[in-house]
């Protein structure tokens, strides 16, 4: 709970108000069908803290992520980032904000050009956004590799030659190139092995305390969410049905959705007595 003390005077980094997003599906008969992905979502996120969005697939988590990263335009509602309404901003100005919000997906293999080396992947955003010389860019890329715990020798490798954990580290390094203030992690741990998940969690915790980034951790894994986040928001059918401090959500769940998610967390619960019996 590193946020509670100064919560009063701190302005939220991100404030979302009454966000609505719907898609139109056309069925085979030509009939139009309205699917409401987000239905009045509001929350705020303080600088340097983590909010976990938890829910079943189809609850609207990923649509929310896309709206926040300016990759989808909501039908209505506001997204305030450091006091600026991103939704109403002109494209030109929105781009400068976009840079500060980076997105990391579940399967990093799909988010890299397979023909590029690690260094090329890391220098591309720098080329687009900064006026740096080649040497400066390489130096920066090497620093980033070090920051996420990848050895410099990997720089010349293709992303397809990396393991799943290394690739997710690379995705984080690429997100860091532009020094974002908010990292959206959309199921970023789900495709990884348990032992590697723990490594990435540690890396995220480390980076948060050294760089002060805020995280929006989107997941269906309530156990991991509770561990990583200061606050949890539980989503169901496009709405946030429950929100509060992680510990509170775990210990006193108020809604049926949360209780069901809690019940579905697989856990190892063998007492020594059971073990000796077997």
């Amino acid at each position: 709970m590193n946020a509670t003390a100064s919560q009063e005077e701190m302005k939220p980094l991100l404030k979302v108000e009454n966000l609505l997003k719907s898609y139109t599906n056309r069925t085979l008969t030509g009939h139009r069908e309205e699917v409401r992905a987000l239905h009045g979502v509001s929350f705020s996120l303080l600088q340097g803290t983590t909010l976990a969005l938890v829910g079943e697939s189809g609850s609207g988590k990923s649509t929310l992520a896309l709206c926040l990263a300016c990759l989808e335009k909501p039908n209505s509602g506001d997204i305030w980032f450091e006091g600026t309404d991103v939704v109403k901003l002109e494209e030109e100005k929105r781009r400068t904000i976009r840079r500060q919000i980076q997105l990391i997906f579940q399967d990093p293999a799909n988010s890299f050009n397979p023909g590029w080396t690690v260094l090329e992947i890391l220098t591309e955003p720098l080329q687009l956004q900064r006026n740096l010389s080649c040497d400066e860019m390489r130096l920066r890329a090497h620093l980033l590799l070090e920051q996420v715990g990848l050895s410099a020798e990997l720089g010349e490798k293709l992303s397809s030659e990396l393991s799943g954990g290394q690739r997710q580290r690379l995705a984080i390094a690429r997100a860091l190139t532009l020094e974002p203030k908010l990292l959206i992690l959309d199921e970023a741990l789900s495709a990884l092995d348990c032992s590697v998940q723990a490594q990435i969690v540690n890396l995220l915790l480390e980076l948060q305390s050294s760089l002060g980034m805020a995280y929006l951790f989107i997941s269906h894994d309530l156990a991991m969410a509770a561990y990583l986040a200061d606050e949890i928001a539980v989503m169901s059918r496009g709405e946030i049905v429950e929100q509060g401090a992680s510990v509170k959500i775990l210990k006193q769940p108020q809604t049926k959705v949360t209780r069901e998610l809690l019940a579905a967390v697989p856990r190892i619960n063998f007492s020594p007595r059971e073990a000796s019996k077997a």
Binding site: M1, N2, E56, S57, S163, G164, G165, Q166, D193, C194, S195, V196, Q197, A198, Q199, V201, N202, L205, E206, H220, D221, L222, A223, M224, A226, Y227, L228, D230, S246, V247, L250, K251, E260, L261, L262, A263, A264, V265, P266, R267, I268, N269, F270, S271, P272, E274, A275, K277, A278
Partner: protein, 327 residues
């Protein structure tokens, strides 16, 4: 003790594009009793998917070595003739893959896809319809007719996974091999599918080989657990023992790397997890020493020089580690 499936010293190696040989499975032995649930625990690169496929003698084209024996009811599947194999695959031993949306035909009604399996194994006419209905009734509590007439895209992920299970059990097999069958599912659906497997064992007395990377999934229902690391069995024993007091450093580290139980989270909140350093990227180097040595928190000098042997700790609990060699 009668075992329905016995694997003896199974070795499988692939040749990579660069010409190196990579050992996916390096001397695997275990046995499975009738109606037993064996949980296979392993991370990517451990050889768990190769193991699943090898149990039905499904080898990739780049396989260069496939030796040992897979004895099903006493018959070695690795030596069986094609027509003998045909009678066993999908009928006596079935395999369920990870991704239900890829394993199903997109433009064929799911009912027909289950019928097809039965038809391929010689069920015809009235028996075909009746058996199909029975299988659907085993797996779905209601709306069996509507579901059978649906196409895969009209069903939810959990329902699609049930269709794959329906195909697998249609011919009444005695062994089911499931490779990460819940990996792409929601947590609540995942629990539901685990429940399906449990009830199948009760109803049909199926033996199950359940392959996963998540130890917590095995806790509620596996009888025994086999821990794979780099193509080797590093620990094998009763589920409760392996999960509650794991002996191999890898199994131990794996348990400790998971976030603490929810009830305890307030104390551990946002502290670092005990991650296992490094990763299990497969290496093509010939084995010298223990494969887990580079990542092992309890490594000793001897671990680098030669390979450990399997040590039996108690009845049915074996560990592949030098720490226990003197016992």
């Amino acid at each position: 003790m009668g075992s329905i499936l016995e694997v003896r010293d199974l070795r499988v190696a692939y040749r990579s594009r660069s010409g190196d040989t990579f050992r996916a499975l390096d001397g695997i032995s275990f046995h499975l009793g009738p109606g037993e649930i064996l949980g296979v625990l392993g991370e990517s690169g451990s050889g768990k998917s190769t193991l699943a496929a090898s149990l039905l003698r499904l080898f990739r084209q780049d396989t260069v070595v496939a030796s040992g024996a897979v004895l099903f009811e006493g018959m070695d599947l690795l030596q069986a003739k094609p027509n003998e194999l045909q009678r066993i695959r999908g009928k006596r031993i079935s395999l369920i893959f990870q991704e239900p949306s890829v394993a199903l035909h997109p433009t064929m009604r799911v009912g027909s896809q289950v019928r097809q399996v039965l038809h391929a194994h010689g069920v015809d006419g009235r028996a075909l319809n009746q058996r199909t209905r029975e299988v659907f009734e085993t797996l779905f509590r209601e709306e069996t007719e509507r579901i059978a007439r649906s196409y895969p895209h009209e069903l939810s992920g959990g329902q699609r996974q049930r269709i794959l299970i329906a195909q697998a059990i249609a011919c009444g097999p005695s062994v089911l091999v499931a490779d990460e069958p819940t990996a792409s599912l929601d947590p609540t659906t995942q629990m539901e599918i685990l429940g399906v497997f449990r009830s199948l064992r009760e109803k049909l007395g199926l033996a199950l080989v359940f392959i996963t990377h998540n130890p917590a999934l095995l806790a509620p229902f596996a009888d025994r657990i086999l821990v794979l690391y780099a193509g080797r069995v590093v620990e094998w024993g009763p589920a409760a023992t392996v999960l509650a007091s794991p002996k191999h450093p890898y199994t131990r580290a794996l348990r400790e790397s998971m976030p603490p139980r929810l009830e305890e989270t307030s104390d551990f909140h946002k502290k670092k997890l005990n991650a296992i350093p490094g990763d299990s990227l497969p290496s093509s180097l010939p084995p010298q020493g223990c494969p887990f040595e580079p990542r092992c928190p309890e490594r000793m000098d001897v671990c680098k020089s030669r390979e450990p042997i399997l040590v039996t700790l108690s009845a049915g609990h074996t560990v592949y580690c030098f720490r226990y060699e003197s016992e």
